[in-house]
């Protein structure tokens, strides 16, 4: 039994089935991320303290560019398919996949960086951030916390740019803080504060979407591409639909980046 309108469009709606399906799915995705963004706004409006500039802006900017490029190559892949140029299709889709992988790699470096970054809140309310100057187990056991504080200008763009390529020397001075002066200390995990909780949740769910997109696109680059021989238009439809998803995920990042990194 054949389902109508899988390859050709229904005349009165002008759409094939999967196109309707993906737009509906994206509408629900808007609501999913809408839920997260409204939670962000709600929590931030009610927060007594909201940290700024603790993310690496150049890295985020780079990743933004990577995703925008991948959206362009995605369109090129689809249009090559429409023009029945299979080799070009493969090539552009390959670049899209590469960009997606690059994005996730940069993201994981950023995550790892957070897990090694520490914050200490003293009993007098003062907050110190930096890196541990001792091993983690030692820090757990010892009565003093040895920490290399972040320099004053750690929030600057240029400093953050440099920090990607080298270890800035300002970090070399070591503070020794007795534990009994400390109210709370932790590395920058979700539990650290509500800001990092939203950061990890929102970027984490976004990264899962990228991963899902990569799996689908990888399938259409590899095994799924064999559909080209039987029905190139059908493959083009599928790639278009996957592309719409990919653009949407890019778009979400374009909102996430300023929300989390800049404001």
């Amino acid at each position: 039994m054949e389902i109508p309108y899988t390859v050709t469009a229904r005349p009165d709606t002008g759409l094939y089935n999967a196109k309707v399906g993906i737009w509906l799915f994206l509408a629900s995705e808007v609501m999913l991320f809408g839920g997260l963004f409204s939670a962000y706004i709600f929590l931030r409006l009610g927060a007594s303290h909201w940290p700024h500039h603790i993310l690496n802006v150049p890295m985020g900017l780079f990743n933004t560019m990577v995703l925008i490029s991948s959206s362009i190559t995605m369109v090129l892949a689809w249009s090559s398919l429409k023009m029945r140029d299979f080799a070009k299709y493969r090539q552009w889709l390959g670049i899209t996949l590469f960009c997606g992988v690059l994005f996730l790699s940069v993201k994981s470096v950023e995550y790892k960086d957070k897990f090694h970054h520490y914050g200490v809140i003293l009993k007098n309310g003062q907050e110190i951030t930096g890196h541990l100057a001792m091993s983690e187990e030692e820090a757990m056991r010892s009565d003093v916390l040895k920490i290399k504080p972040d320099p004053e200008n750690a929030g600057d763009f240029v400093y953050q740019l440099k920090s990607i390529f080298s270890k800035p020397e300002a970090e070399e001075k070591v503070l020794e803080i007795p534990k009994n002066e400390i109210r709370w200390w932790s590395n920058f995990v979700p539990k650290y504060n509500t800001y990092l909780a939203t950061y990890f949740t929102m970027t984490g769910i976004h990264a899962l979407h990228i991963l899902g997109g990569l799996l689908v696109l990888g399938y259409f680059w590899g095994p799924g591409a064999s559909l080209y021989k039987r029905n190139p238009e059908h493959l083009a439809n599928r790639v278009e639909v996957a592309g719409l998803f990919w653009h949407f995920v890019d778009l979400v990042w374009i909102f996430l980046f300023p929300t989390l990194y800049l404001f």
Binding site: Y16, N17, A27, M31, G35, F42, K191, F200
Partner: protein, 615 residues
């Protein structure tokens, strides 16, 4: 039925016999056929409903006889769940809370919505629009199995340490953030975490289902089936699917955040300085439990319409069919469905009046809550006026559909006082609220569910359900529903709180309404007994019911009756087209009292059946 087209089905049956063999597992388990998926949804959710109903009957024992061991079932519970949960067969507050939470969760999310939206939706919608299947058959299969995994997770959660979730079907934070967390609990395999994971599966399944239903209705309508010729059930499914599509995802994000709170120590929903078990909670703070309530009720309110809208569609179909005349105003019905769907998305905070939201915000929600009752009343009026001057066929589906109307009326009217802060301040969190929503969720929803089953059973199986057993099912069901839920309204006025484990026994002012607990409990057990004829009828009719001799046994006009009985893979034997509105009953000048959507005019005229064409 003697016209040429109706042999679409019977005469040509022979053609269909030579369908290729589908392996058992692809046919019954991992089926992609919308009808089989509809049965799977229906059977699974009826089973869940029975289970959730059983939890409630046990709770009603506890409410009537607080602290007394439950006869027969008490010892079984003690064996199954351990003596910390039911020592000596007595229900502990823990167990009461987890039964309450799971009763609500399972009834709403895993029984009634799947049965009404997905069960009937899957079986009926493609047939009513003349489609060979859903737009995405494999996605359809995935959506059922995701739902099924969600159900299994919920069921299993009774047996993990500490038992199933205890924070109500609403999972209110910060209670839910800290429930089932202490020593002795597995971080992952505990009631509340499994509740969240089970819900995530359920939500994902319903998301795929709603994408599928909407796409199917938009794309696969057969030739001639324009929007204003859609049967009302299809309309109700369309609106419902949009509600699920747009309102569920925010709850999914909320569930993810609650999972983060529970597993990774974030505090999205817990404020600073929270004391848990006499100690400062080890969290960073800065969260808000009101945020959870907003995200929850943004789904929670539409969800109640997700449940009631398909019942409106079912009742509309059955009314038109058994009054033998067109619905009094098809257009008003359809626009009411659309208006209810839209408005239900912007009234969610009427569940939160008592959280101190402020005057401006509550005014907004009071106004729109009041406005939403207008389309509801219009819809009821359409159905009521459709009865006017009709020669009604009182068959079993029609009895159930008729009883739906007053139950829906009571449910809706009792909602109004809750919609205004001035009266809600008194009624909030009392048994009155429970009475109000159960009139909607139980009598109304379940009566329509039964109506639908009795109505479409002949198409699905080729056999009728038994009329006598049907009536034996109907009368006690209607009576005892009211025996359970009406006293709740009364108790609510007396101020009995909705979550008291002793049913109000410990509160001075409740003493003179305590006897109602016995009335309700006896009614609940009687209601349980009243379902036995249904269960017998269902299985007996499946194998031995009276055979249908015609593909259109109710003499209906909509397309699902133009298929062979039961419909095979691909549904229609010939391409069908639609020539007219959905409910052309009692057409003047036509020899039969109904004119199916699929009968072409030229042929009717040629055969001299039609002296005057209805416009």
């Amino acid at each position: 039925m003697d016209s040429e087209m109706s042999m679409t089905s019977h005469a040509a049956h022979g053609l269909h016999e030579k369908h290729e063999e589908i392996p058992w597992i692809r046919k019954y388990v991992f089926s992609t056929d919308h009808k089989m998926i509809g049965y799977q949804y229906m059977v699974t959710s009826l089973f869940v409903a029975l289970f959730a109903f059983f939890l409630m009957v046990l709770m009603r024992w506890q409410l009537s006889f607080p602290g007394k061991p439950i006869p027969v079932f008490g010892p079984i519970l003690e064996k199954l769940l351990g003596s910390s949960m039911a020592p000596g067969g007595v229900m502990t507050p823990q167990l009461y809370n987890s039964f309450g939470a799971m009763h609500g969760t399972m009834m709403i999310f895993m029984a009634l919505v799947p049965a009404l939206f997905a069960g009937f939706g899957n079986f009926v919608v493609p047939l009513q629009i003349g489609a060979p299947d859903m737009a995405f058959p494999r996605l359809n299969m995935a959506s059922f199995w995701l739902f099924f995994v969600g159900v299994v997770i919920m069921m299993v959660s009774f047996f993990v340490p500490g038992g199933a979730a205890k924070s109500g079907w609403t999972s209110y934070t910060p209670l839910a953030d800290f429930a089932d967390m202490g020593p002795g609990f597995h971080p992952l395999f505990n009631g509340q975490t499994l509740w969240l994971i089970g819900m995530a599966f359920n939500i994902t399944g319903s998301l795929l289902g709603s994408v599928n239903i909407i796409t199917t209705i938009i794309q696969l309508r057969t030739k001639g089936l324009s929007w204003m010729r859609l049967p009302v059930f299809v309309w109700s499914e369309l609106v419902t699917a949009f509600l699920l599509l747009l309102a569920f995802p925010p709850l999914e994000s909320a569930a993810i955040m609650q999972l983060m709170d529970r597993l990774f120590g974030t505090s999205f929903f817990s404020p600073e300085g929270l004391i848990v078990n006499g100690k400062h909670a080890d969290i960073s703070g800065g969260g808000s439990s009101i945020l959870w309530q907003h995200l929850f009720w943004f789904l929670g309110h539409p969800e109640v319409y997700v449940q009631i809208l398909p019942t409106m569609g079912i009742v509309g179909e059955i009314f038109a069919n058994n009054t033998r005349k067109p619905l009094w105003s098809y257009k008003v019905f359809v626009y009411s469905l659309l208006a209810i769907g839209f408005l239900s998305m912007i009234v969610w905070a009427h569940h939160m009046y008592m959280t101190g939201m402020g005057q401006a915000v509550t005014s907004f929600f009071q106004i729109f809550t009041t406005i939403i009752s207008i389309p509801s009343v219009l819809l009821g009026t359409v159905l009521l006026l459709s009865l006017w001057g009709a020669s009604i066929r009182f068959n079993v589906p029609m009895l159930f559909a008729l009883a739906w109307l007053p139950m829906f009326g009571i449910g809706g009217l009792t909602g109004l006082p809750l919609g205004w802060t001035a009266s809600d301040v008194v009624l909030h969190d009392t048994y009155y609220v429970i009475g109000h929503f159960h009139y909607m969720m139980a009598p109304a929803s379940l009566l329509a569910l039964f109506a639908g089953i009795y109505y479409w059973f002949p198409k699905a199986t080729g056999r009728y359900m038994n009329e006598f057993l049907g009536k034996l099912h109907f009368w006690p069901t209607v009576i005892f529903f009211n025996g359970i839920f009406f006293p709740m309204l009364v108790q609510g006025f007396a101020g009995v709180h909705r979550r008291w484990y002793d049913g109000g026994a410990g509160w001075q002012m409740a003493q003179n309404v305590l006897w109602l607990n016995q009335v309700m409990s006896v009614s609940a057990w009687a209601l349980a007994i009243a379902q036995i004829p249904f269960i017998i009828n269902f299985f007996w009719s499946l194998w031995a019911g009276k055979k249908v001799t015609d593909d259109n046994p109710w003499q209906a006009t909509t397309l699902e009756w133009a298929t062979p009985t039961p419909p095979g893979h691909g549904n229609f034997l010939h391409p069908v087209a639609v020539y007219r509105d959905p409910y052309e009953y009692s057409v003047p000048g036509y020899k039969q009292d109904y004119l199916p959507q699929w009968e072409p005019e030229e042929r009717l005229r040629k055969e001299g059946n039609l002296s005057q064409i209805p416009s």
